[in-house]
């Protein structure tokens, strides 16, 4: 067993310990954390005239699950792209700073961000479809001697390491219930299985922090359950998890801290059970529907959403009628 993937439980595996840790943190946007692993300052990204992301300050606590939520188009994916080096902030020259474990990442390339220990997955899954599941996994491992062109031709220089990496890949595949598929092409997996594969592949590099962009999207309910429990296990082993979800009720079960984004800004932060009743969050999600309880699962049923849409339409019609008169 490799220590980084299936390791000893961390102190923060205990829910009480996590609650105690975060109880001292003030539940407001941009609040400081006892032991931040990631700190972000003044990141702005404009697309044309539109500001997709405008984050003044954000800290992510080490060793817990932080959920980044917000309605569609809030800028969550763009924010992920910015801090992982896949996009550049418009404010790059005017004070955009972010650091991971105290190391500045302002000018770092995507690959160096990953090497620093912050590994991400993508909202649109990037499984390498015309390669086998096993090849996908093997690519995740870091520091492979055989990836050096000068030694690649001589198996003696990397064969032993390859065996170790394979063993680790088998363990992770087993854990993510993909072992039976190891020799299949990734393109033949279902959407949910590809999400699992992408996550397992990211874990091959022993990250300190894993960033998941909508890991549950398109995954069937049974798999969602196991995905959620995988994420919790990672946290219990000491990994920091930051994951994006636009749907709040999924978030409630597993996150220790919730950051809410709307229209590019961080509008609220707090523990999962209280942040939902924050007026700023309710505004962000529902506009005028203050009286609805966001933590209520029934809210997310189709009828409820339809009802809301109808109400909104009715209200708008009323307003238009008023304006005309």
């Amino acid at each position: 067993m490799s220590e980084a993937t299936i390791g000893t439980p961390s102190k923060l595996a205990d829910p009480e310990a996590r609650r105690a840790l975060m109880s001292g943190v003030s539940p407001e946007a941009g609040s400081s954390k006892p032991d931040p692993i990631l700190e972000v300052d003044h990141i702005i990204r404009n697309f044309g005239g539109m500001t997709a992301v405008h984050v003044d300050h954000l800290e992510v606590q080490r060793g817990i699950i932080t959920a980044l939520i917000g309605p569609n188009g809030a800028g969550k994916t763009t924010f992920f792209n910015l801090i992982t080096g896949f996009d550049r902030p418009s404010s790059a020259k005017t004070g955009a700073h972010w650091s991971f474990e105290g190391k500045k990442l302002d000018k770092t390339s995507a690959s160096s961000v990953a090497l620093a220990g912050m590994v991400r997955t993508f909202q649109l899954t990037k499984s390498l479809n015309r390669m086998t599941v096993m090849d996908n996994m093997m690519l995740g491992a870091r520091g492979q001697r055989g990836e050096n062109l000068l030694t690649a031709m001589f198996k003696g220089t990397w064969g032993a390491q390859e065996k170790e990496v394979e063993k680790k890949a088998y363990e992770l595949l087993d854990r993510f219930k993909l072992y039976a598929k190891k020799d299949d092409y990734a393109g033949s997996l279902s959407g949910g299985q590809r999400k699992l594969l992408e996550m397992a592949r990211a874990l091959m590099s022993d990250p300190t922090m894993i960033m998941l962009d909508e890991p549950m999207a398109g995954v069937n309910p049974a798999l969602t359950q196991s995905l959620l429990s995988h994420i919790q296990t990672l946290r219990d082993e000491g990994m920091t998890v930051l994951f994006v979800e636009h749907d709040m009720h999924v978030v409630r079960h597993i996150s220790d801290w919730v950051v809410v984004m709307a229209e590019g800004r961080i509008v609220a932060e707090g523990p999962a059970d209280t942040v939902m009743s924050n007026p700023a969050v309710i505004d962000a999600y529902l506009g005028a529907h203050h009286d609805t309880d966001l933590g209520d699962d029934s809210l997310l049923s189709d009828e409820a959403l339809e009802e809301m849409a109808q109400e909104v339409a009715a209200e708008e019609a009323e307003r238009e009628a008023e304006e005309k008169s």
């Binding site: 990953a114 499984s127 690519l139 990397w158 088998y170």
Partner: protein, 389 residues
């Protein structure tokens, strides 16, 4: 539409042969699909040559003539030279997904470096090094500005750079350096290579089974022997590279660069390495290409690049032996079509030069049919090409 859904293996097919389905067994041996592919390649090689040899030896009349022409073309040193260049193109396109539309430019540089150096009195090993060095620098110059951009930019830059090189080589002002449009006669650079021969004088035809050629000579068995030996060597190198984690990285980059970046790999550096390696194969191909003939810039223009692409797709991209099978069949097929058309169609309808053109048209149609109906080529794996998302 229906072909696509048919080609995706059903779960049962995909799991056939997977004995340990679902259970993790650390000692589970993995099946070796690459070995099966090598067996298929060997079967095609042997089958093709047995048939051609028998027909060439025993068939009477025109059939025998055509078969002897195909055999001659299949064994020719220039076919081997193009095979080496295709092996390089395969590293670019097949494994890494780089759209190099100027492989003939790499060949041209290798050939110029080799022939000019020897012509100007330098020893042959230096000439070889100069050829490789020129291709290396060319790869760097092409790669630095384009490899960070989308794939199409490399295609545009390579095709124009290769043409620019050829036109520069043709400049009348450079007559004393490159030989301008006429190029450099083979006699100016060939001798050091021919002198290495231990095949002796006289001719050889293996008791009438093979074309009757000089053992050494200008375009005899010696240059063929060395050329095909180099092809074999290049195949071994590509095999060793492709099975390594480095080769895996190339295929990963071909599939999705961003995914590879997100795993902490330096994608730019690896693409550059692939561009250089494939370019060096191209340069070697160029050197071999001019050994049995002369150094003519126009012999290594756009046409040659497109032949390389056709032969690569015919044989199967991203396979070790695909480029070799593709090169042999490509040139043999052309001789076959030209010979057959010449024999069947009367001269009044299609004369000799028209049958040659007709053969090229058929080659173009073959390429189209291939891309539509068998994009993986003869040796490729359908699944590696079908799952397009």
């Amino acid at each position: 539409m229906s072909t696509v859904s048919e080609s995706i293996p059903t779960p049962d097919q995909a799991q056939a042969g997977d004995t340990a389905a679902g259970v993790y067994d650390p000692n589970d041996p993995q099946g070796p699909p690459p070995q099966r592919r090598a067996m298929i390649a060997a079967a095609i090689f042997i089958g093709y040559f047995v048939v051609i040899l028998l027909v060439a030896k025993f068939a009477p009349g025109t059939v025998g003539v055509i078969a002897r022409g195909m055999l001659r073309e299949s064994l020719s040193a220039q076919t081997a030279a193009v095979a080496i260049a295709i092996i390089g193109l395969n590293v670019h396109f097949g494994y890494t997904g780089l759209l190099n539309m100027g492989q003939s430019g790499f060949m041209l540089l290798g050939a110029y470096g080799f022939s000019i150096s020897i012509w100007k009195g330098l020893p042959m090993p230096v000439g070889i090094l100069v050829g490789f060095l020129a291709a290396f620098v060319f790869a760097l110059i092409l790669g630095v500005p384009t490899l960070k951009l989308r794939g199409d930019y490399l295609a545009i830059v390579t095709i124009s750079a290769a043409e620019i090189l050829r036109y520069v080589g043709r400049l009348a002002k450079l007559e004393n350096f490159t030989g301008a449009a006429q190029g450099i006669p083979g006699s100016q650079y060939r001798d050091p290579f021919v002198n290495l021969s231990f095949f002796g004088d006289g001719t050889f035809d293996a008791g009438g089974w093979l074309p009757n050629l000089q053992s050494t000579g200008v375009n005899g068995w010696w240059v063929r022997f060395v050329a095909w030996l180099l092809v074999a060597l290049c195949c071994v190198i590509v095999f060793l590279l492709a099975r390594s984690p480095w080769g895996r990285l190339l295929r990963g980059i071909r599939e999705d660069e961003d995914a590879i970046r997100s795993l902490g790999k330096n994608v730019f550096a690896i693409k550059m390495q692939a561009l250089v390696i494939g370019g060096l194969f191209g340069a070697l191909g160029g050197m071999v290409y001019i050994l049995p003939s002369s150094m003519q810039p126009d012999a290594m223009g756009r046409n040659l690049t497109f032949f390389c692409w056709t032969a690569l797709l015919l044989g199967g991209a991203a396979t070790v032996f695909g480029p070799v099978i593709g090169a042999i069949l490509f040139f043999a097929l052309r001789v076959f079509i030209q010979g057959t058309a010449g024999a069947i169609v009367p001269d009044s309808i299609m004369n000799l030069s028209q049958t040659a053109q007709f053969a090229w048209i058929c080659v173009g149609i073959t390429l189209m049919l291939l891309v539509i109906f068998r994009p993986q080529g003869i040796l490729g794996d359908k699944r590696e090409l079908r799952f397009n998302v």
